[in-house]
């Protein structure tokens, strides 16, 4: 049986652990880990766990449950017969693609549905890869998402899309085939950013972590050795890898360019707390430090790393966790607003063409999409969040089969979770959209607290460490643009509640580095052209 827990909803009540302790485990107070593919003898217990979850966050064998309280959803055909006879193609057969496919069928789309994915596996879930899989608690094959057999769709797996013909409405595949569509969903996500020096990246012992194959290799090597691991980059992925290393009792060094880990996501103040956690767990954390070179021995095995602080470390392995590169290569020249920043779309997931005009039949969702969010001054957000992929895919799928009077907007606030060093870190909103931050509840010393972020006098985000039950409250404050700093009498309020400067990284302009040339004189012929620059 296949299980997915929507950890963006989970509040750590632990009811599932009581019901099925061999499947669900608590890592610390509220970081839930689980086996996504438990054996059939656990079935009764897992069903009981699902029934007992107070927020109904557990999905079994299906993955298209309706958001609670949404009205009647299966609207009639818009009158063009599309729902019955249309052709939909989804490129990218992972979380967003699968979810969209399921929602399309749920919404009564009966036409032809094709999913194209360049990975050979069924769609699988990535978050366990850096957590329970890497720690060896759950085999990597258990991460398959529920359940493509039940979905009436054509699967072209192991097939890479190499081009898009917008006028002819065709997707080109690597083997030369062309697949026609009426509507297209772009869900090609991101890939791990490789180590920039190719020769060094090719050394035996240098890893990235994005796919199942990456996880298998990394896990095998981690389980086999005892030497020092170097994690390059102290973002969420890097921090989770470091956490697992310590759990396995491997010595580990984290090199982070910024002043603290998680700097890019949470800013300096809260990142500093994450840094203390790392050190308490024995991580050799080096901030304001970059790796300048990786060195191999005669056999091409990684041996040492040189750091910008002058140190040379003997290391067994290096995990490159430098963020992601958006999978837009196949869209080059297609005439869409696609570039290093992702694929630009509106809040209804309709993709912009290169001139910034919205298209009717091309949609995007998941890590690849960049969309404007009204709560953040209509700035464009690109989120690499599980919950965003799920929510946005639902909106995209709905809009693909709905006429314009029934479209939905993707207005959900971003929610993210990470599990590291036995602490469940969650955030709602955009923590980097901030000029101030304040601890509003709990205790930093105990690693159980809520931090609220604000920008120009209103709340824009909140981060919890092992306090997920309060997140909803802050979500509402953000949605209502409540004043910052919040100044309520409330339970667990610390003695002093002084906002401090957030010290978030400078907000990079959306499409920084994009060079666009505009040509033509008549309004009817003016066009934008994206000029490629060497990376």
């Amino acid at each position: 049986m296949r299980v997915v827990v929507d950890l963006t909803r989970c509040q750590g009540y632990g009811q599932c652990v009581f019901a099925a302790p061999d499947v669900f485990t608590m890592h610390g107070q509220e970081a839930l880990l689980y086996d996504p593919d438990p054996s059939d003898e656990q079935r009764a217990r897992v069903l009981r766990a699902k029934a007992a979850c107070p927020v109904q966050a557990i999905h079994i064998d299906r993955f298209a449950a309706r958001a609670a309280g949404r009205g009647p959803q299966v609207y009639p055909d818009a009158g063009d017969g599309f729902k019955r006879n249309g052709r939909i193609v989804i490129v990218g057969a992972s979380l967003a693609g699968l979810r969209a496919a399921m929602v399309l069928r749920r919404e009564g789309f009966a036409g032809s549905l094709t999913l194209i994915g360049d990975e050979t596996h069924e769609p699988y879930d990535r978050p366990p890869l850096s957590k329970q899989v890497l720690a060896g608690q759950v085999p990597v094959e258990h991460t398959m998402l529920p359940r493509l057999a039940e979905l009436d769709a054509e699967w072209l797996l192991g097939q890479r899309a190499t081009g898009l013909d917008l006028t002819g409405k065709r997707v080109r595949l690597a083997d030369g085939r062309e697949i026609g569509f009426d509507r297209l969903l772009i869900a090609t996500g991101v890939r791990a950013r490789p180590w920039p020096n190719e020769a060094e990246a090719a050394l035996d012992g240098v890893y990235v972590l994005r796919t199942i194959e990456d996880a298998i290799r990394l896990r095998a090597r981690l389980a086999a050795g005892t030497g020092r691991v170097l994690v390059i980059g102290g973002g969420f992925a890097g921090s989770e890898v470091a956490s697992v290393c310590r759990e396995l009792d491997r010595p580990v060094t984290v090199a982070e360019r910024g002043p603290v880990p998680l700097f890019g996501a949470l800013g300096r103040v809260i990142g500093a707390i994450a840094g203390e956690m790392q050190r308490e767990h024995g991580v050799d954390l080096r901030c304001d430090t970059t790796v300048t070179a990786l060195e191999g021995d005669a056999e091409g095995r990684l041996r040492a790393a040189r750091l910008s602080d002058g140190a040379t470390l003997e290391v067994d392995m290096a995990v490159v966790a430098l963020g992601a590169v958006r999978n837009v290569d196949w869209l080059e020249g297609a005439g869409l607003a696609a570039g290093v920043w992702g694929v630009g779309c509106d809040a209804g997931c309709r993709v912009f063409d290169i001139n910034g005009v919205v298209t009717d039949d091309i949609f995007a969702a998941g890590d690849i999409a960049r969309f404007p969010h009204p709560s953040y001054e209509y700035q464009f957000l690109a989120l690499e969040h599980w919950g965003n992929a799920v929510a946005q895919a639902e909106i995209a799928a709905h809009n693909m089969v709905s006429d314009q009077t029934r479209r939905w907007a993707h207005l959900a606030l971003p929610v993210f979770w990470s599990s590291q060093f036995g602490v469940n870190i969650k955030s709602v909103g955009v923590p980097t959209f901030a000029d101030g931050v304040v601890i509003t509840q709990g205790s930093v010393a105990e690693r159980r607290f809520v931090a609220a972020y604000g920008y120009r006098g209103r709340i824009t985000a909140a981060v919890t460490f092992d306090q997920a039950m309060w997140l909803e409250f802050y979500q509402r404050l953000i949605e209502q643009a409540a004043p910052f700093p919040p100044d309520f009498a409330m339970v667990g309020r610390p003695a002093v509640m002084e906002p401090v400067p957030a010290e978030v990284p400078p907000r990079v302009a959306v499409a920084q580095g994009a060079t666009v040339v505009v040509t033509g004189h008549d309004p009817g012929e003016r066009r934008a052209i994206l000029v490629r620059r060497p990376e």
Binding site: P21, T25, Q29, A51, F488
Partner: protein
């Protein structure tokens, strides 16, 4: 004011058997102000919001001017238990208790009690043999949770009857309208229970065994409970887990007897019991209103401002019948997909004992369904207890044609093995 009347009618014992139409009326004003300045909240979304709102305190409010003191579940002379505390103290005490009850440190404890609870259920039903009529409450639902909690805490079997008597006296006073005589009984029972638990704790300190009390007294975790806190916690587990579980079993049997097709399906498909229980927790919950809250600050909700200092009653049972949340809410339907009920509350005070309550009720209802031959209600509605907040039948007399023999089948199936 007509609005005020609705809630008074809900509290009126005359309406105990079917308060649901009154809840519908109550929900027309999602946040209602009462004459005494207290507020009653009755719609789903608003209650969920308040359960997760840090501006709400669970610390017992001062009794209203001239009013009687509200029911008190703590023992005389002891500090309030964690159900009546706020973070960070609440979290600390709950965490320390949870260390020996559930995840992360003791994830298997409750599941480990399945067999024992199953045997108790079997024994209680065995005693029905040779009769054609019993009171499900007195003969079954009432003793079961006390026996189970005694096992959990490590109270020796021979002391169970005394424990039960104390528990009854304490539970009686949870009712906001309990009188003075009741109050005297409570103080007496509480004093005795406290002395008993204190002695038992001493004994377990000298000679620990594998029960919860032993674990709590010998705990060497940082910030360990003081002896007084420990006694409060033990009493809380007893009181909070007693009448609630009684009501769930009794309400469950009553509801199944009112829906014979469901009873029949349960008999044939014991695995359905989980779905039945979750729907029961929505449809006929034992806790209609959890302990009253206090607003620590002005709170704007559903267009109303609840002023700082106001007392807030959360009508969980009204929310669970909110048509804005559950389609066709007045239908008992274990097959409904969406059962995100508030039967165990929500937020930091979410029921501590929920897994144990579920375990007891699973075994109780599936075995009653399996073993009772042709069970029938003697009176519908049955007589109800006075209490509006913890609502359930005082007696549930049923007749039946016979009792099927005990097997371990019911237990085994419910265990999924």
């Amino acid at each position: 004011m007509a609005e005020t009347c609705v809630f008074d009618r809900i509290l009126d014992h005359a309406n105990r058997a079917d308060p649901y139409p009154l809840y519908a009326e109550l929900r027309e004003t999602p946040v209602m102000r009462r004459k005494d300045g207290g507020y009653v909240v009755s719609t789903y979304r608003e209650i969920v919001a308040l359960l997760h709102d840090p501006r709400i305190s669970s610390i017992r409010p001062e009794p209203p001017e001239g009013g009687s003191p509200p029911g008190d579940e703590s023992l005389p002379g002891l500090p309030p238990a964690f159900i009546r505390r706020d973070p960070p103290e609440h979290d600390r005490l709950r965490r320390l208790a949870m260390r020996h009850f559930g995840p992360p440190h003791s994830p298997g404890r409750v599941e480990g009690m399945r067999r024992q609870v199953g045997e108790t259920v079997t024994r209680l039903i065995d005693a029905f043999a040779g009769r054609d009529r019993v009171d499900v409450v007195d003969a079954f639902a009432y003793p079961l949770p006390v026996i189970v909690i005694c096992r959990l805490l490590g109270v020796p079997t021979e002391d169970e009857p005394r424990f039960r008597a104390w528990s009854e006296a304490l539970v009686e006073t949870l009712d906001p309208r309990a009188g003075e005589a009741v109050e005297r009984r409570r103080v007496a029972a509480g004093t005795e229970l406290r002395a008993y638990l204190d002695e038992l704790a001493d004994a377990r300190l000298r000679q620990p065994s594998d029960d919860l009390l032993s674990a709590l007294v010998t705990d060497d975790a940082e910030g360990r409970m003081s002896r007084e806190e420990l006694l409060s916690t033990a009493a809380l587990l007893l009181v909070a887990g007693h009448e609630t579980t009684v009501n769930l079993i009794a309400n469950g049997m009553l509801t199944l007897l009112r829906h014979p097709a469901e009873l029949d399906r349960l008999r044939r498909e014991p695995d359905r019991v989980d779905a039945v229980i979750e729907e029961l927790l929505r449809y006929e919950p034992p806790v209609h209103m959890p302990p009253v809250r206090t607003a620590l600050d002005d709170i704007e909700i559903a267009g109303t401002t609840i002023p700082k200092g106001a007392r807030i009653t959360l009508a969980l049972a009204a929310a669970d019948r909110d048509p804005g949340r559950f389609p066709d809410p007045d239908r008992f339907d274990p097959d409904r997909e969406d059962k995100e009920h508030l039967g165990f509350g929500g937020g930091v005070h979410f029921c501590f004992g929920a897994p144990l309550a579920r375990l007891e009720t699973q075994l109780a209802l599936s075995e009653l369904a399996r073993r009772l031959e042709n069970p029938r209600l003697v009176a519908d509605p049955p007589p109800y207890r006075q209490n509006a907040a913890l609502r359930g039948p005082r007696h549930l007399h049923i007749e039946f044609d016979g009792v099927a023999p005990a097997t371990t089948v019911g237990v085994a199936i419910a265990d999924g093995s």
